[in-house]
Every structure is written in C-alpha cells, then in structure tokens.
Symmetry: C7
Subunit: 272 residues, 7 copies
C-alpha cells in the first residue's frame, strides 16, 4: 500500500511556513526602516554641504529605488530557496553569461557610482566652466551616466562619468590674469618695469580685479628678449578680457615710451 | 526478491510534479507580466525624452527578446535541476571555457550596453556631425554593435560602440565662428580694430549669424604680429563658410586701409 | 555472509538507466533542432544584408561546428555526472590551470567573436582599401582569426581581428578630392578665385567626378600665403589621380595668369 | 495520527539557542575590544608621526565606522545562517550583479584606501604646493575620496585619490634656485664667471637664501652660446623671486662689464 | 564486540573497483583515439596550407604532448576522487596561490597560443623580413614562446609571441619602388615629366621590375618645390636597390636637361 | 517525554574537544617553529647580501607580524568551523564586498610586496641618486609602502613602491664623463684631436678620474660641424664637475689653437 | 548509560588510517620520482642548448625547491582534510585576502616565470649589451626576479623580469657598420662614389671587418645634399670604432678630392 507520510509532510510544511513567516516579518520591518535610514542619512550629509533641494531629492529617489529593487530580488531568491526549488545551479549556470555581462556592464556601474559622487560632492554645477577627460566647456547637464559640456565653439560633449577621473573647475573663486611681455636685450629693464607699473596702476580701480595687476620681475631670458611678467587676480570669468586689455595698454604705453617688443633676432656671420 | 519501493517512488514523483507545477505557474505569470512591465517602463522613459516611434520600437523589441531568452534559459536549467540531472558539474565544467568566452565576449556585451544607452539618451542622431573615438564624420547609422560615421573625405568609419567613451556632437545648437588676424607691431591697434569692426558690421544682416561677429581685442603677442580675434555665433553648420567670408572681407578691408598682415619677422644683426 | 543488496543495486541501475535515457532523448531532439535553428536564423539575418552565398555557408558551418562540439562536451560531462564518477573536483582542479589558459586564450576567443561580426556585418570586403589598427591597405583575406591587408608598398599585414577596434573603409561610396593652394598676400583673392574656377570648369565633363570641383573660399591665413581650397566629389578610387590633375592644371593656369604660389616669406630687419 | 516530534524540535531549538548565545557573547566581547584596539593602535602609530589631533580623530572615526558596519553585517549573516534561512544561494545569486558592482566600485574603494594612507603618512598637508596626477597647485582640502588642488591660475582641481600614484611635494624643505646664462663664444669664460661670482656675492646676506648662490661652471656648449650655471638654496617658496632677482642683477652686471648674452648665431655662406 | 561490517566493506570495494575499472577502460579507449584524431586533424588542416613536413611534425608532437599531460592529470585527480581522498579542499586551497600563478603565467600561455597559430597559419617564415611589436628584422627562428628577429644592424631581437599583435611581412609578393622628386616652381612640369618618363623607360628591361616604373603626376605642392612621384613594382627585396638606381639616374638626367632639384626657398623682404 | 540523547551529545562534545585539542596542539607547535624558521631563513639570505643589521631587523619584524596575524586568522576561522557556526555563507557573503576591496587594496599589497624586495635586494639605499617611475632624486627614505626621493630642485617625491617598475641607480660604481665637441668642417680633424688629447692629458692626475678621459674619434657629421667625442671614467658623483671642467679647458685650448666651435651654418643662394 | 559506539569509532579510525597510509605511500613514491624527473628533464633540455653547468644547477635547484614546497603544502592540506578538520571554510575565508594578495603578488610570479625562461632560453648572458624595457646597457647579473644592466654612463639599471617583454641583444653575431654621407647637388655622384669606394678599399684588410664596407648608392635626396650610404659588417662590438674611422677617412678623402659635405642650403629671393 502506498503509505503517504502525512506526519512528515505536515512537519515539513510547518517548518516551511515558519521560515516564510520569519522572512516576511523581517522584510516588513527592514523595508520601511531602510527607506527612513536612507532619507535621514542623505539629508544629514547633504545639509552640511548645502546641496540644493532638487538635487537632494534626486539622490534620495535614486537610493530608495536601488534599495527597493535589491530587497525584492533578495526576497524572491530566499523564497525560492526555502521552497527548495533548486535555484543554486541556475544561478551558477547564469554565472558564465553573467560574467560576460558583468565585464560589459561594469562601465555602466562605474558611471553611476562616479555620477553619484559628482552630484553629492558638488564638484561641478550646471554653468561651471570645467576641463575634464580631455574635454572642456560649460556644464549643461549632469546626469547619473553622462555629463554634458558645451565647448567654446558650440560643440556639445557627452562625457560618460567614469571618464571623469579628475575635474579642473575654472569657476570656483578668483582667477589669475597673467601677461608675459618680452623686451629687447638693449632696453633698460628698470625703465620697462616702471612703464609696466604705470600701466598696472591704471587697472587699480578696475572692478574686474580683486587684486590689481603688478610686475613681478624678470621671468626668463628668451633667445631674443628679456621676458617680464605681470600678474593680477580677477573676478571669475573676467580674466580673459582683463588680459586682453592689459596687453593693449602695454603695447600703447611701450609705443609712447619707445620700448620695443622685439622680433626674433639672429646674428648673421657672413662668409663668401 | 527485488522489492521496488513503490510508495517512495510515488512520493518522489509527487514532489517532482508539485515542484514542476509551481515552476510552470510562476513562469506563466512572470512571462507576460515582465513583457508588459518592459513595454510600459520603456514607453514612460522614452516619452519624456521625445524618442522617435521607430527607435522606441527597436528598443522594446530588443529588451523583450533579451527577456524571453533569459526566461527560457532559466526554465530549462531549473527543470533539469528538479529532475535531478546533475547539471551543476556540467556548468562548473563549462566554467573554464566559459571564462575564456566571457573574456572574449565582454567586448560584445560592452558594445550592446553602450549602444543601448546611445540610442536611449539620443546622444547622436543620424545626420549629426560628431567626433568620437578618434574619428569624426557624419553619422550614417547607429546600431547596437557599431556606429557608422562618414568622414569628410568620403571614408566610412565603423566604430564599435564600446570605443565611444565620449562624444563631441557638433550638431547641437549654434556654433561659434572664430577668426584670428595678425597685424604688424608697427600698425595702430585702434585703427585695425575699427577697420575690423566695420567688416563685422557688414555681417550684421547675414542670416547665417545668430549673433553678429565682433572684435574682442588683443588675443596674444605673436613673435611677429599682434593677434586680434573676431568671434560670432552662427547657425549650426554655417560656421565654416562664415569664417571663410570674414577672412576674405578682412583681407580686402586691410588692403584698402593699408594695414598689413605681417610675414614672420627676424632682426638680422650682421657680422663679418 | 556477504549480503549483496540486489534490490538496491537494481533500483540504482534503474534510476541510472532512466536518467541516461532521458539525457539521450533530450540530446537526440536538441541536436537536429539546434542545427536547423542556426541555419534558418543565419539565413534570415544574412538574406536581409545581402551576404554572398559563400560567406553565409562559411558562417553556417562555423556555427554548427561550435554547436556540435558544445553538445558533445555537455553530453560527456552529464554522462559522467550520472554515473557518479567524481568529475566535480576534477573540473575544480582544472580551474587553476584553466584560469591561466582562459587568460591566455581570451585573445583567441576575442579574435573569433570579432571576426564573426566583421564577416556578418560586411564591414570590409576582399578588395576594399581600409585603415584599421594602425595599418592600411587593401584587404586580401578575411579570416576568423586574422585579416590580411596588402599595404601600398607591397607589405602584407596580418592583423588579429581583436585589434580591429575601428575600421575606416575607404571603398564605400564617393570620395572627396581636396586641393589647397596658397597665393601671395600681394595677389588679388578675387582674381585667383576666378582663375581657379575656370580650372574647375575644365573638370566638369571629367567622368571621374560625381560632382565637379569648386573653389570654396579662403580657408586660412598662412604665415606667407592666403590658402584657397578646391573641393569636388569623385568616383571611389579616382580621388588621387583627380587631385594630381587639378594640381597640375592649377599650376599651369597660375603661370599663365602671373599668379604666384609663394615661397615662405620672412621680413629681415637688418642691424649692424 | 500526526505525531509531532517534540523531543527533536526542542533539541533543535536548544542547539539553535546555544549557537545564537555563543554568537551574541562573542560579538559583545569583540565589539568594544575591537574599538579599543583601533583607538590605541591608531594613537600609537600617529603619535610617532606627529599627526595633528584633528586628523587623528578623523581617522579614528572612520576606522570605527568601518569596523561597526562590518560587525553588523557579519552578525546578520551568521544569524540567518544559524536559523537556516537559505542565505547561501541568495548571496551566490547576488554574485553576478555583485561582480559588476565590484568592478564598478573598485575605484571608490581604491580612492578610500589611498586617501587613508595619504592622511596617515602626511604626504601632503593643506597649503602644500604639490604636483600629482598631472595637476599642480596648492592643496585646499584632503578628503577620503578626492583631494582638491588650487592651480596657479585659480582653477580648482578635484583629483580622485586613486589617481595620486606619485606625489611631488614642493613644500618640504629648502629649494634650489637655478639660473642658466648663455655667454658669447667670443667672450672670456673666466671674465664672465668672475662677474657672475660678484653678482652671487651680493646675495650672500639675502635672508631668502639658506646657501648663497654660486657659479658651478660651464654647463653646456649651446649652438650659439656657452652656458654657465648659477645654483643656490633658498627658503621654501622663495626660489622663484630669488631667481628673478638673480636674473635681473646678472643682466645689469653683464651690461656694465660689456658681456653679451648672445642672440642665436648663424654663419651665412653667400653664393649667387 | 567490534563488529566490522564486512558486507558493506566488500560492497564499497566492489563499487570502487567498478568505478576504477570504467575509468581505466574509458582512458584506454580515449588515449589512442585522441592521439589519432589530433594527427589526422592536423594533417588535414596543414596539408591544405602547404605547411612543411618538419613544421607539421613539431605541431603534432606539441599537441600530443599537451594531450597526454592533460589525460594523466585528469586520470590522477579522478582516481583520488574515487578513492575518496579529499582532494576538493586541497584544490580550493591551492586556488589562492594558483590565482597568483595563473595571473603570472598567463603571459606564458598567451605566448604559446599565439605561437601555435603563427606556426599553423604561416604568417612568418624563417628568412622573412618582418615588422612586428616595434621591432623589424629578418626572422631567424620561430619558437612556441619567442620569435627571433635579426635587425638590420645585426642586433638579435627576442620577441615574446604574445607581443606579436600584428605582423607586417615584407617578404610576401612584389614590392613597390617609390621615388619622390621635387622640381622648382620655375621649371615646366611637362618638361620634367617627359625627362622622368625617359628615365623610367631605361628601367623597362630591368629584371628587378615586375612592372616598369612610371611618373604618376604632381603629388604635392611643397613649400619650395613641386613634388613629382615615380612608382614601379619590383621583385621582392629589390625595391631598395631599384629606388637607389632610379634616384641616381634622375639626378643625372636632370643635370643633363638643366632641371633643378631646388633647395629650400625663402623670400626675404629686407627692412632697415 | 522529552528524551535528550545524552550519549550522542557527549559523543559530539568528545569529537569537538578532540578536534579543538588537535588544533591547539598543532598551532602551539607551528607558531614558534614558524617564527624561528623566518628568523633563520632571513638571516641566512641577508647575511650573504651584507644587509645592514637595522634593515634585517625591520624585515624580520615585518615577516613575523604577518605570520602571527595569519596564524590568528586561521585559528579563529577553524575554531568557528569546528563549533559549527555557519561561517561559510558569511564568508561567501563577504565575497562581493571583499572583491571590491580586493580590487581596491591590490595596490596596497603590491606596494608592500615590491617594497619588501627593494629592501631585501638592496636595489636602493638611503642617499643613492636614482631615477625611477618618472622621478629622479636622492633617496631620503625607503618604506614598505612608499619611497621618498628628494629631487634636485628640492621637491620631495613620494613614490608608491608598486610604481617602481625599474630602477636606474646612479650611485653604483664609477660613472662615465662624456663631452661632445663640434669643430668646423674647415678645420683639420687631426689637429683638433691632438689639441683635445693634450687637454685630456691634463686630467690624467685628476683624482676624480678612475680612467683619464680620451678622444675616441669622429662621432658624427653634424649639419654644420664634425662632432668629436671625449670619454673618461670618474668616481661616482664627480662626473658632472669633471665634464664642466673638461668643457672649460677644451674651449680655452681651442681659443689658443684657433680652432673654432662653429655656429650653425647655412649656404645662402641669393636671387632677386 | 552513555554508550560509546566503539565499533564505529574503530571503523572510522581504520578508514582514517588506511587513507593516511595510502596518502603517505603515494607521497613517498611521488617525491623522489618527481625530483628525478625534474633533474633528467632539465638536463636533457639544457644539454641541447649548451647551457653552462652552473646555470643548469641553479635551475635544477629552483625547480626542486618549488616541487618540494608544493608537495609539503599538498600533504598538509590533504592530511587535515582526512582528519576532518574543517579546512574548507578557512581556505574560502582566506579567499578575499588571498585575492588581494594574488593581485598584488602576480607581479612577483610573473617576474619569476619570465626570469626562468630568460635563464633557460639564454636570451641574455652576463656581459651582453642589450636593450630592453626602455633601458640599455651591459648585463651585470640575471636573477629570477630582476636583471641588472650597467648603462653606458655607469648607471646600474634594475629591471624586473616581467618588464622584459622584448629583448634586443646587441651581442649576438656580427654587426653592421653604417655611414651616411651627404654630398652637394653640384658635385658629381659618380666621382663621389669612386672616392668613397677607394676609402672602403682601405678597410679591406681591417681585422674588425667580417665583410669590407662598400658604397651602396644614392640613399636619399636631402633638402641640401645627395645622401650616399656605406655599409659593412664588423666583428661584434667593433662597429662603432669602425664607423668612426670610416667617417674620419671619408672626410680626409673628400678634402683631398675637393668634394664638399654641404651645409644646409637656402635660396634667398630678396625683395625690398
């Protein structure tokens, strides 16, 4: 006679039910707790960094999404594990394909991890002028996967975040204006410096300058000229126009004072 | 006597049937649900990005294909697992070969993952003029594995998508036209600038320009010339012809006003 | 007395036989089905791409070979698994050596995967003139592991397919003929352009041109010359001879019209 | 009758309780012990390196955080393991995704590991002028993930710590001032050296110098000049202004002594 | 009393014997079969490629060696597995060291895999003049691990086969002889071409040429000369001496016809 | 009645105790033995290499530390394993995080492994002048993780040991002093060589030289000069000052003998 | 009553003893056999390559060491495995740390593997002049981990063997002496060649030459000179002095025959 072992079956079912029950309870507790933890942690860490409301919300939404999907995945796998459906070999079987995918997709994950920190640490803001990954331009959009830069000539650069290994942000604080001027070896250095100092004095009242430009001395002996250097600090973004204006005024002042910006020189020893 | 344990056999079969039954039911529920989820998710994410109908369909088809193949693979492995055919060692055994394949095929996966996001994020469109992966040209076709660019000289570049680590899209928005002109150190900067400004004025009505060109000042002290710069914004694709026309007009205006674009200079100190 | 448990033995044998039976049946079904699937899939995907009959056959043969070897491998391992010969540790043991092999052989796999797609996607054909992986030449043979290019100087380049990360195919569609000509700063741009235009007109009837060459304007201010550019579209492969002929005619036309192609200029300021 | 095996159940529970009990006790002992160990170890290792109080606290906090999270993670997993919830397959299942994440996140871990050692070993301090990872500037902030450098032109560089493979710290100890001066092949080397030595003597009392500059001899035969070299040691940060002043004085002394800093020379053999 | 279960022991031994027996039989069948398969496969694949007898033997010996060692390894591990000596943990334990070894030895494996295909595909032969991996020279020896090239200056280059990512074989088929000649902008292009054509005609009977050299036209406008190009096809290895002879004859023909190969030109605008 | 199986429990405990006992005994034997082995091995290997006492102690301390930590780790894990606390899944679970950490920390391990061998093999000593990893300077400190170089200009370079892939040690043995001198094509080579030989003779008694400098002949035909070369061997560190002195004496001797160190020459063919 | 199952215990012990016994016997057979095999294999493979006695001994010692350590490691692990001490989890637990170590130590393994083959294949000998890994010099010592090169200037380069991806050995066989001489475009090529041939003839009896130098023709048209080339084969190491002597004699012969080695030429078109 076929003697089905009811006792054992019931026992097994009981154990199963108990396990699933514990599982459910754990998840029902973990889910809201985790979400709250994320929210509060993020708020604390962003509040100290003055991250804008909108950005904080984006990050929160992202993190809670990731958390939810992970939880669902874990629940499903554990559920199957308890029921005893042999999910182990399946997963192992998926490993070979999975490995290829993992290799292929690591770039994607790397993009998102880096993107997350760029957003959180506020390394760049929309509107900043930055140099990164061999591109430079004004930031148009910062995404989790790509950052968009508008180059000077109008080109739009899409940079995957993983390529952003270092960021040079040109929009953080004052900038230096720097102009190198070559004078002839025949001219008096002292005279040239005094003329340049008078030019620099004209820019003292210039609102573009945080710190008026000044002559710092003989920077180098060029092959045909003695190089003098002017340095000043300007408001961010004004350094280029300031440099252009200094250059124009220097040329004019030199013309007035008969100081020559020399052409390349060569001594010709003539033989026949 | 050979005493076949019928009871046990039936019990085992019962368990097997139950397991396979659950498996089937789960799959019959998951399959249509997953497909629907994909469709709706994709539609939502693409609708906000104004992806064209055709492109959305391509993506949807791709994702559902991937989903179906994965489901079939999972079903088969789980089925074998339940029956008890020792698929574990097989899969482990496949691991060594699999690893080599995984390494070899990661490029393929990487291509498809990147291709998917290029399609989804609309980084490039057919007809855009782009620079990427060391190639530049007009996009002829965007595939999941390769993107085809038509170079300026007519060459067709096949670029695997994984090589596209950054995209410079020259067809997004207005472009800058930029012309640098060198004038002699002997010429008056003010005079030259006024001539250049009158040339720029001629282009004010030019429909190619979004923002008429203007002289921005002394860009640099060259070894033989003072470099002045003209900058303007043009409609996309018109920057090159605009630059060519500015150059021609500048040369003519300089000729009329006796302003010289200087040759390289050298001071020769003659000895014998 | 030694009491051999015949019942159990028979039972075990029965289970074994059943398992092997199922295994056999599954394989006998899967083998022909798989082969058919490959054939039909390949035919469908190649028919839409107009792949030549011979090439399609090569691909089909390759895929069926790979499929057969995989099936045999799977069958053998599963057979051993059922018999209970401990193949698990063996395979694990092979892992260390296998890993080294996998690393070493990944290049081979990568070659074949890339080769497969180059064949399937028809990126290059025998006879195409291409640039890839730092080599350029005419394709002599496309293999699954290597592609052979015949360089211009007669050298035969063997390029492993995995090195082919991007292909520039110079034999797809019309090519541009481009000639840059420098004229003196003293010469009239308008005059030079009208002479060049008359030269271009001579090529209107030339069968090598799809689109007759034309002068597009002032391309650049060189240090000693104003650079004018001529552009035209030619039939593939004719761009070089077309360019050579344009160059010869331009030189002759300039000679007739006393327009000079200037030597490098230098202004010498003489001092003693 | 369904005969629930109470004995066995109680036995099992007993074993469970015992195991969890041991686990709890072990953790209650390990947790405070570990924290104390970290504190004392860190204090010992930092005290010998004169790390500032604030920095030591940061490191301690970080290490205790890491330790706590690890402990919690271990406890949870072991707890599940004891209860018998099948966490094994789950974890294996997470492996594929995990692998991708591991690849993607390795940069992050690498950042933190390197950051930890940069902090601990005091390779850079806030305010140091350093060159690293292709950037150079003054250190504004050293974080666990990124280090911020303020470039000379005002740009703020964000450098991920993993990119810091080598650090050139320009703010550790005295610096060398080095000036190369070319004299004519016609001038007497001895005369020039004596003039330079008298210039160097003027700087003997200069507080910027740790070791007064001196002429070390004929450094090279240039194509048009004999190169003499002056070397001295200055207080950190004063090397540039010292060099500028030496250059100015050398030029003036040479002018007084009729020693020429020669222009590039060329012998012209004139033919007709 | 100690009651040794003889029955069970005998049963176990019986199972063991059976397993080992099957194992032995399988191996005794597989070994000779495998060797034969390798021989016949290799012969077939090499016969179609006209691989020399000696080379085929080398490959066969290598493959049979690899096959034998693998078989022995498999046999030993399976034998231990059957006896029940716990070889699993051992192998796992070897994993860590093994991984390091695998990483370290992958170069070796990669060398051999590449070497095998270089031999099989006959990419290079002893005596060929090739460029590969940054070296170029005449092949002296092709080994499984390294290939030896004799450089032009006599240096012997040992190149690990894995470095051979692309091979440029200069000894396969005819080569092109190419000579570029610059003529003065003042000289008539037609005249120069007719002179060059007469020079080319002299080489028509030259046995070194497969295809007599010819003038193909105006290759470029140089800064001081119009560049004409001569191209011909020579027997392999004769291209350099052919080029040298063409150059000598061109110079002589130009001298006779008063055509100048111009020096670099410069227009000097003299100012005072 | 709940019937606790005391017998079984005691049996289990007995087995446990036995296992732990064996474990303890093994460790108590292995620990001191291992330490002694390390000490004696290190002493033997360092004594033959004349490693300084202090350095040998550092290495010994490091190795014994590593050994102790490893032993403790092994003991703890085996202890848990015996008790039966499920440490397996925990460790597997740690794998994903561990993998990321392993990737991130491999640099650290690589630093220490390389550092160990640099110390052991005495590739560099404190005070040596070396070039490595793109930096060069005098070694200030050799650590297990980083090596510090003091650059010539005073900069302190921190080089992670893993970056030290090759070391050029300039402080091992005598150095060569090498001076190249160009003489005019018009001057007699024999005359110039005899003058140079007399200069070299002056340095015969110079204590800086191990091997007096000598003229080795015509090194090259420069575009404007015939290059002669002088070579000698000096005590380590004296090569630069020796070269400077040779240069000075050569110039003076040439002046006395009317041998010219020529300027760059150019033949000017004048046209109008 | 506690009823210890003596029978079972004894049985277990019996099985254990048997297993350990087999293990011991296997190892006692394998150990000497393995060592003998290594010795004989190495001797055979080195005898055919004429490896020096000392080198063969070094290799043998190394291989036997590696073999012994491996055997001990295997024995210990298998012993623990048989006793049933849970070594599995321990090893798995070591995996994470092990992975980091494996990554970090792979360089070391790679060094030794490469070093082994450099020694075995005799790619370099002590005293050879080689170029490898960006360094070049005379080999001073070949170790398993590093190879030491003495650079020409006296620097000692330590090159890790893994960096040695290709070796250019300049001390294997005869070397080519090569001298390029430029003659004026005005001079007769035939005359110059005949003079050069007479110079070459002088070196026919020179013992340094294996093959007397000869003029091979017009190598190139330089911008200012026609380049002629002399090539000869010399005994190894004598190529440089041979080249120097040829250069000296060519200059003298040209002076006697009024053939000019021309300076760079330029045609100056003078304008005012």
């Amino acid at each position: 006679m076929i003697d089905i072992k009811w006792t054992e079956l019931v026992n097994t079912l009981l154990v199963y039910s108990a396990k699933i029950g514990i599982l459910l309870i754990v998840f029902l507790i973990v889910a809201p707790l985790g979400k709250k933890l994320i929210s509060s942690l993020l708020r604390k860490s962003t509040s100290t960094k003055r991250v804008s409301e909108a950005r904080a919300l984006t990050l929160e939404k992202l993190l809670i999404n990731v958390f939810s999907y992970t939880l669902i995945f874990i629940f499903v796998v554990m559920f199957f594990g308890i029921i005893g459906l042999e999910i182990g070999p399946l997963i192992a079987g998926a490993g070979v394909i999975g490995l290829a995918v993992a290799f292929g997709a690591q770039g994607l994950v790397s993009d998102i991890v880096t993107g997350f920190f760029i957003l959180l640490e506020k390394q760049v803001d929309v509107g900043d002028y930055v140099t990164t990954a061999g591109y430079n331009g004004v930031v148009e959009e910062i995404g989790l996967r790509t950052t968009q830069l508008r180059g000077f000539d109008g080109t739009l650069h899409y940079v995957p975040n993983r390529e952003i290994t270092g960021v040079s942000n040109h929009s953080r604080g004052n900038m230096r204006a720097l102009v190198d001027i070559g004078i002839s070896y025949e001219d008096s250095i002292d005279h040239a410096i005094s003329v340049l100092k008078s030019v620099c004095a004209e820019f003292e009242a210039d609102v573009r300058f945080e710190e008026a430009p000044d002559v710092i001395g003989v920077q180098a002996f060029g092959s045909s000229e003695v190089v003098l250097r002017i340095i000043g600090r300007t408001i961010n973004g004004e350094q280029w126009s300031a440099e252009r204006d200094i250059r124009k005024r220097v040329k004019e002042a030199f013309d007035e004072n008969n100081i020559e910006i020399p052409y390349p020189h060569q001594v010709n020893v003539v033989k026949n």
